[in-house]
């Protein structure tokens, strides 16, 4: 069943949440910043600084290219600021104290923008996350070579996952979102997200295990 938190809220439900406003008030950690930005759009900056790296990372892991990631990040934040008036906070007690429905909303925009990017460049497909293998490391001494190989292998394993599993993994591990938040971003139920991540980890484990086995027996 889709999670109702981020769906449309009826007037009746809104009235109910207004009555219990005192309870809901502490739930969305971005509430104060969002309200300030609504009053004065110039006050959007703290929200921007707070989520820049997260949105950029998401775009980078999805698109595999720094320039594309920058472009997607820029569009995401411009859209978020321009649409801020339409954002509705939908936190509920089950979301926990650190939850931010603003973050979910922002990532839904990011997901939309990234999808649009990918559609636009479909004619020139690139393997996502391949860039990770060639990111120059200034501390690339011999002792770190193996670690770098491991990182590249992990990135490659994630890159080989189907899109929905990859997205869920990136949101969970890179952006450190809760299952509820990921469900909100992906428009799925929490249970579906749990299963998605579980299966993704299984695939990654198999993939990394194969790579490790191949490395252990290179002569064979």
């Amino acid at each position: 069943m889709p999670r109702p938190v981020f769906g449309r809220v009826s007037a009746q439900k809104e009235a109910r949440s207004a009555r219990v406003g005192a309870t809901v008030a502490h739930l969305d950690r971005d509430r104060a910043l969002v309200e300030a930005a609504r009053d004065d759009p110039a006050a959007f900056e703290p929200l921007y600084r707070r989520y820049l790296a997260q949105v950029y990372s998401y775009a980078y892991y999805e698109l595999g290219d720094h320039h594309d990631a920058e472009d997607a990040t820029e569009r995401t934040f411009l859209l978020a600021l321009a649409h801020l008036g339409r954002f509705e906070e939908r936190a509920r007690p089950a979301d926990g104290e650190g939850a931010s429905t603003f973050r979910v909303w922002l990532f839904r925009i990011a997901r939309n923008v990234v999808a649009n990017h990918r559609r636009a460049r479909r004619r020139h497909p690139t393997a996502p996350l391949d860039a990770a293998a060639v990111v120059p490391d200034p501390l690339d001494v011999e002792g770190r070579a193996a670690a770098r190989e491991d990182v590249a292998a992990a990135w490659a394993a994630v890159g080989r996952l189907p899109a929905d599993r990859r997205r869920a993994i990136v949101l969970r591990f890179v952006d450190e979102m809760s299952t509820a938040e990921i469900a909100g971003v992906l428009g799925r139920s929490e249970n579906a997200v749990r299963v998605l991540i579980h299966r993704a980890l299984r695939s990654v484990a198999r993939d990394l295990g194969r790579g490790r086995a191949a490395k252990d027996s290179p002569a064979r």
């Binding site: 934040f77 321009a82 428009g187």
Partner: protein, 182 residues
């Protein structure tokens, strides 16, 4: 206790989820001990451990960060101006299809049509208005000029023009302008 197949998969997924919560929390406080259930598949633990340490968050360049901050400040100023000018909805020119709230049923795999190009419509709202009014002014000026040079040929005007043209040197040069009779 045995679970039916589907329930078993759900139970495994919940165990994994709990483990990930603990793992990421431990990561935050730089702890190495992560409480885990004995029922959790070691392969899942291995993969989760690898991903939590290898999938790092990437930060954009400082230059990009500041450039985007400047663009946002510019947009904020535009929105403030639009609001001050009486516009109740400063973000109206943006494409509503990009608003996730308007499309709560984002498909899991298929993303809704989005047109981030519409971002460029923010400023054109003002520029478009200015251009339209400039174009109207030019068209108006051209029409007035045309009207002045080609007055309607009423019988009286035709007669006056004929008289003026019959005079040596032409009426216009002597200050007789048919349009004054209109």
């Amino acid at each position: 206790m045995t679970f039916p197949l589907r329930d078993r998969a759900d139970a495994d997924a919940i165990l994994t989820d709990l483990y990930l919560d603990a793992l990421l929390a431990a990561h935050d406080r730089r702890a190495t001990d992560v409480p885990t259930s004995a029922d959790l598949d070691p392969a899942i633990r291995f993969a989760a451990g690898r991903l939590s340490s290898d999938l790092a968050r990437v930060h954009p360049s400082f230059r990009f960060e500041e450039r985007l901050a400047a663009r946002l400040a510019e947009l904020a100023a535009h929105m403030r101006l639009a609001a001050a000018a009486g516009g109740s909805d400063a973000r109206a020119p943006l494409d509503p299809s990009l608003d996730p709230h308007l499309d709560p049923a984002f498909g899991p795999d298929e993303d809704p049509a989005a047109d981030p190009e519409s971002l460029h419509n923010v400023r054109p709202l003002l520029l478009g208005g200015a251009l339209t009014s400039a174009a109207l002014s030019l068209a108006g000026a051209a029409y007035v000029a045309w009207r002045r040079s080609r007055p309607p040929l009423t019988p009286m005007a035709r007669a006056v023009r004929a008289v003026a043209q019959s005079r040596p040197g032409g009426g216009a040069r002597q200050g007789v302008r048919p349009r004054s009779l209109n």
